[in-house]
C-alpha cells in the first residue's frame, strides 16, 4: 500500500492574538517570533498514515508545495515515520492559492508510484480554505471522503468514518481516493524521539520544480490562481465584559448567579 500525505507548513496557529502582527502591504502575517509548524490536521493525517503503516505495512510519502524552508516540515514528518519526502518548490503566494496548489500536488502525485490513498488535513490551519482536498480529488479524478476522524483497510479498499451534517457515517470506498482528516482522540500526532529526528536529518528530500512536473512557471504561480487577496486586516473587538466581584470563588459564584437572574438569562 502506498499512501501520500499532503502537508503544509504554517505559522504556529497557537500564537496569542497579542503577539500576532500582519504586514498589510504583503497581505500576510509576520512571522516575528512565531515558529513555523505543520498544520494541526496535517499532523493528524500523518498520524493516521503512520498507524496504517504500522498495522498493515505501507509506504508513506509526504509532499509539500512551498518555499525552501518547508523542508523543516518534511523532516518532521520523516521523523514521525514517513518514508519519503517531496518538496515542490514554489513561492509563498502560489502555495497559498488553492487551485494552483491542487494542480501542482496532483502533478507531483501522478509522478509517484501508484498511490492507493491520498491524505490531507481538512483545512490548512492558516488561511483555512479547506479546498485543496476537493480540488485534488477532481484533478486526479478520484472520489473524496472529507472530515474523516478514522479509517482502516477493508477488503480491497477502505472503511472510513466521516462526519456529516447528520452525525457520523461509516462509508466504504475502493482504493484510490482522497481523504481529508479531522482531529479525533485516536489520531493525536506522536512526538518523534530525538533519535528519529537525527535519522530524519540524514534522509534525502526529493526536490521538484514546475518544469519537472511538466507545468510551465506561469501556471504554477499565484497569478494563475482563481483568487485575488485585496486586503488583510485585524478586526476590532470591543470587549464588554463585566467582571464578577467576590472575595473567593464561592462568593463570585453566588454573585454570578445574581447577575444571571438580573439579566433574566436563567
Amino acid at each position: 500500500m502506498h499512501i501520500a500525505v499532503c502537508i503544509k507548513q504554517i505559522l504556529d496557529p497557537e500564537i496569542s492574538p497579542r503577539a500576532f502582527k500582519i504586514n498589510r502591504e504583503a497581505k500576510l502575517a509576520e512571522q516575528a517570533g512565531a515558529s513555523l509548524v505543520i498544520g494541526p490536521f496535517d499532523l493528524n493525517a500523518l498520524e493516521v498514515a503512520i498507524q496504517l503503516k504500522e498495522k498493515h505495512g505501507a509506504k508513506v510519502t509526504v509532499l509539500t508545495f512551498g518555499e525552501e524552508k518547508a523542508q523543516d516540515a518534511l523532516r518532521r514528518a520523516l521523523a514521525m515515520g514517513a518514508d519519503e519526502a517531496v518538496l515542490v518548490a514554489g513561492d509563498g503566494a502560489a502555495s497559498r492559492e488553492p487551485s494552483v496548489t491542487a494542480k501542482v500536488l496532483a502533478a507531483a502525485i501522478r509522478q509517484l508510484e501508484p498511490v492507493d490513498l491520498v491524505l490531507c488535513g481538512r483545512q490548512s490551519g492558516e488561511w483555512d480554505y479547506g479546498q485543496v482536498p476537493g480540488l485534488l480529488a477532481e484533478e486526479l479524478g478520484l472520489p473524496l471522503v472529507p472530515f474523516v476522524p478514522r479509517l482502516d483497510v477493508s477488503g480491497d479498499g477502505f472503511r472510513l468514518e466521516r462526519e456529516s451534517d447528520a452525525g457520523n457515517v461509516v462509508v466504504e470506498a475502493p482504493k484510490g481516493l482522497v481523504v481529508s482528516i479531522t482531529n479525533a482522540q485516536d489520531n493525536n500526532p506522536r512526538l518523534p524521539k530525538v533519535r528519529d529526528i537525527m535519522m530524519a536529518n540524514r534522509k534525502p528530500i526529493k526536490k521538484l520544480g514546475a518544469a519537472d512536473l511538466g507545468l510551465d512557471e506561469a501556471s504554477a504561480s499565484a497569478s494563475a490562481g482563481r483568487l485575488e487577496v485585496l486586503d488583510l486586516f485585524i478586526p476590532e473587538v470591543d470587549s464588554e465584559c463585566e467582571f464578577v466581584e467576590g472575595d473567593d470563588g464561592a462568593e463570585k459564584a453566588a454573585n454570578l448567579v445574581k447577575k444571571l437572574l438580573e439579566r433574566k438569562v436563567i
Partner: protein, 326 residues
C-alpha cells in the same frame, strides 16, 4: 449579475435558516449588480420551492433524484454542476454546512470558478464581488475577490440577515431534469452512527451550553459541568484541546471545526478563548467565562467574567443554582 443559491436540507416546508440567509445576501448582491436570484432546490428541499420565492428567489429550479435523498455528495456535485451550467455565469452562494464544504471545491473546479470559503460577508465593491473571511484562526480578516466569469462563495451560517418572507412575491418554479454521472455512488454508506453524547439535550439546540477546556485538567470535572448543565436544562460542550486529550468525545467539540451553537447562555470553563473556539459560539446571547487568567482572550468575548480557579467556583455555582432553581 445573476446569483445562484444552492438550497438543501430541511423538511421541505421552508428553507433552512442558512438558506434563508443566503437568499437575503443573494438579493443584496443581485440588487447591486442588476441580476436575478435563482435558487436550486435539491432533494427534499424542492418541496419548499414556493417558500424560497417568499424569501427572495426570482426563480426556483427543483432538482429531485433518489441519489440526492441519500445525501451522496458525488450526486450533489453532479447536480449542482448541471444546474449552474444551465443557468450560466453567476455568483454561486453555498451553505456553510458539511455538505457545502464537501461540495464547494469540487463544484468550483468543474465550473472553473474562484471560490472563497467561510465568508462572513459578501458584497459588490467597484463592480467586483468581494468576500471577507477570517484567516489565521480569526486573528485577521481577508478581503478576497474571485477571478473568472463564474464565482462561488461558501457563507458561514448566522452571518447574513435573511429577508422577511413575503407571500406576495412572485417567481417561477421549474423542474430541472438531472441524471447523476457515472461516478456517483463510488463511496457507499454502510452505517449511520448515532451520536451518544450521554446528553438528553442536543448540543446544537440547547438553550444553555456549559463547556470545558484544557484548564479542567482531566475528564472528572466534566461531571461537575454536566451537573450544572442539568440544573439549567442544558448540554455539555468542550474545546478541541479537551477532545484531543481524550477526556470527551469529538461530538462535543465546539468551534470552527466542531459544532456551532447558539444558546441563550454559554458558560466556558477553563477555556482560553482561541478564535477557533469562539467561532463556534458567535450565536450565543450571553457568554460567561470562568478562567483563572484575567488576561485570557475569552474575556474579550464574554459578557460576564469570573477570574478564579474553576475548583473554587463550580461547587458553589451548582449549590447556588440548586437553591434558586429548586
Amino acid at each position: 449579475m445573476n446569483v445562484i443559491v444552492l438550497a438543501w436540507g430541511g423538511d421541505g416546508s421552508a428553507p433552512t435558516g442558512p438558506v434563508q440567509e443566503l437568499l437575503g445576501a443573494a438579493r443584496r448582491l443581485a440588487g447591486a449588480g442588476g441580476g436575478s436570484v435563482v435558487a436550486a432546490a435539491f432533494g427534499p428541499a424542492a418541496g419548499a420551492a414556493r417558500s424560497l420565492i417568499e424569501y427572495g428567489a426570482d426563480r426556483v429550479l427543483t432538482v429531485e433524484h433518489d441519489a440526492l435523498a441519500a445525501a451522496d455528495a458525488d450526486a450533489y456535485v453532479d447536480a449542482a454542476e448541471a444546474v449552474c451550467k444551465h443557468v450560466g455565469d453567476a455568483v454561486v452562494l453555498i451553505p456553510g454546512d458539511r455538505l457545502g464544504w464537501e461540495t464547494a471545491p469540487r463544484l468550483a473546479h468543474r465550473l472553473d470558478a474562484g471560490l472563497v470559503t467561510d465568508a462572513i460577508d459578501v458584497a459588490v465593491e467597484d463592480g467586483r464581488v468581494v468576500a471577507t473571511k477570517p484567516v489565521y484562526g480569526g486573528k485577521a480578516h481577508a478581503k478576497i475577490a474571485m477571478r473568472g466569469a463564474s464565482q462561488a462563495v461558501l457563507v458561514r451560517a448566522r452571518t447574513q440577515a435573511p429577508l422577511a418572507p413575503d407571500a406576495g412575491r412572485s417567481g417561477e418554479i421549474e423542474a430541472f431534469a438531472f441524471e447523476p454521472g457515472p461516478n456517483a455512488g463510488r463511496v457507499r454508506v454502510v452505517e449511520y452512527k448515532h451520536e451518544d453524547t450521554g446528553d438528553e439535550v442536543r448540543l446544537e439546540e440547547a438553550k444553555v451550553v456549559v463547556s470545558g477546556g484544557r484548564g479542567l485538567g482531566g475528564p472528572e470535572p466534566f461531571q461537575q459541568l454536566a451537573e450544572i448543565a442539568g440544573l439549567l436544562g442544558g448540554a455539555v460542550g468542550a474545546s478541541l484541546a479537551a477532545v484531543d486529550a481524550g477526556w470527551v468525545p469529538a461530538s462535543m467539540q465546539i468551534g470552527q471545526t466542531g459544532k456551532s451553537v447558539a444558546p441563550d447562555l454559554y458558560i466556558a470553563v477553563g477555556i482560553s478563548g482561541a478564535s477557533q473556539h469562539v467561532a463556534g459560539i458567535s450565536g450565543a446571547k450571553t457568554i460567561v467565562a470562568i478562567n483563572k487568567d484575567a488576561e485570557a482572550p475569552i474575556f474579550r468575548v464574554a459578557h460576564l467574567g469570573v477570574v478564579a480557579d474553576y475548583k473554587d467556583v463550580l461547587p458553589a455555582l451548582a449549590e447556588e443554582l440548586r437553591r434558586v432553581k429548586g
